[in-house]
Point group: C2
DNA sequence: TTTACTTATTCGCGATTTGAATATAAGTCA
DNA sequence: TGACTTATATTCAAATCGCGAATAAGTAAA
């Protein structure tokens, strides 16, 4: 049997075949007001004019994929420090009506304040609330703004849904949750983030115990200010657990 | 600030930019003799002549990514029923010395007997044992054949390592393990697969309990044959747990 | 200054899960 | 028939988890 593998590995001519365009799309997420939110841009031209889309850009020949994602991220203000992770690659033949575009989706996590600052700095961006079903099943990936459903361009609803799913799956065993908080935060704020992502209320003492036992948190002797009642202690994310 | 998003979404000309080639590479895994194994092909031409590589192929303009992965899989015999899942997309600028190639990696899981049959049917394929460190840390992604290290082409060692990592992360909460076994199997065989992937011995009664409680297993009244001692019951993977 | 109020933080318990050793069952083979 | 080996079931202690309640620490009003 002839192997397609052998076909191209032995004598490959770069100019012989048509090549698809490759883009990166970013799901820029945060937790705003107790609900997960994503950053969208409004499309002014066809296709999908008037709809909302994930920010993205084509991958240049002289940059890697992560580099391209960082570049797209850097185009917006206040987003340099975001946590970025590759999500999935979407390559259905007809996902873009103009031409074949393969999109490598990334998701990025930002603290609420950076997110809000970026939103204010650029008028064409929009925050969208993500519908989080209470059931533990799959995530619809629908976006909402002020209680009205937001129609998304391309297959971006699917991308959004997968981003929420991925975040949900990772948040209780990986330290990604800290990327959604400022450098110093209270345990209550951390729990709020977890509850917003998972869509369920969590038990306070148990959550506290788990987090503290993991060794990811470093107490700064400081306390929260401005609270009307007993101020909570501020913690910091300790990237390297001190071994030994 | 000018958005790169707006730049290309508003007036995109498909012919205006150079485009990278897009390929799919497959990490075809199984568990052979109590150790994880992957299928590799020997490269006869430069670059990386003499080294081993993952089977792969370029994505055609008229097929989706999953479709391309299935096609590359179908080129080999005995592999139609494999479990296939997208793994990660590798896009470093210089990962292929000939030209820019972005590779969407997939991993596929096969029962040991199908794997062996495919190996016998094609002489250019080779089975490689994957080095699984006993520590719970990261996976090196080194391939071994008969106790000698196998130098891999391109960034395929990295791809291999990520595949093992992904499989390890999924095996105890997702039913992927069943894809590595024939249709009917004993609990001991299932445990052997889990131990091979994780690289640690597991507690037998606890493993049995967990698996049975999950509701994924359906007992076929039959028993294993050919064993010299008490034959174990054969189970079948029940895809849909009967709800209600 | 004192007291009410609200939230942070800790404590303590029962229920559930987990790890591991042991007992029993069921086949083959000498 | 009995020794042998593995499957399967039982049992028990340890660790974990959910959850309610007690205690602590601030602010704001009396």
């Amino acid at each position: 049997m002839a192997l397609s593998e052998a076909e191209f590995l032995t004598g490959y001519d770069p100019g012989a075949y048509d090549r698809p365009s490759v883009a990166v799309d970013l799901v820029l997420m945060s937790v705003i007001g107790g609900a997960p939110a994503a950053l969208l841009v409004r499309r002014e031209e066809p296709p999908f004019a008037g709809r909302w889309a994930l920010p993205g850009g084509f991958v240049r020949m002289d940059e890697g994929l992560d580099e391209a994602a960082r570049r797209v991220l850097g185009d917006k203000a206040h987003m340099a420090g975001a946590y970025v992770e590759q999500l999935y690659t979407f390559g259905a033949v007809d996902r873009d009506p103009r031409t074949r575009v393969i999109s490598v989706a990334y998701f990025a996590l930002l603290p609420a304040d950076c997110f809000a600052a970026a939103l204010k700095a650029d008028g064409s961006l929009s925050l969208a609330r993500i519908a989080v079903p209470r059931t533990t099943g799959d995530v619809a990936g629908e976006a909402w703004s002020e209680d009205s459903a937001l129609p998304l361009a391309f297959d971006h609803a699917q991308v959004l849904g997968l981003a929420v799913q991925r975040l949900r799956g990772k948040i209780d065993w990986s330290p990604v949750g800290f990327a959604l908080l400022p450098e110093r935060f209270t345990l209550r704020a951390l729990q709020d983030v977890h509850e917003a992502i998972l869509g369920v209320p969590l038990n306070k003492p148990a959550f506290r115990r788990r987090m503290l036992d993991r060794g990811w948190l470093e107490p700064t002797g400081e306390r929260e200010t401005g609270s009307s009642f007993r101020p909570a202690e501020l913690f910091r994310f300790r990237s390297l657990p001190i071994s030994g």
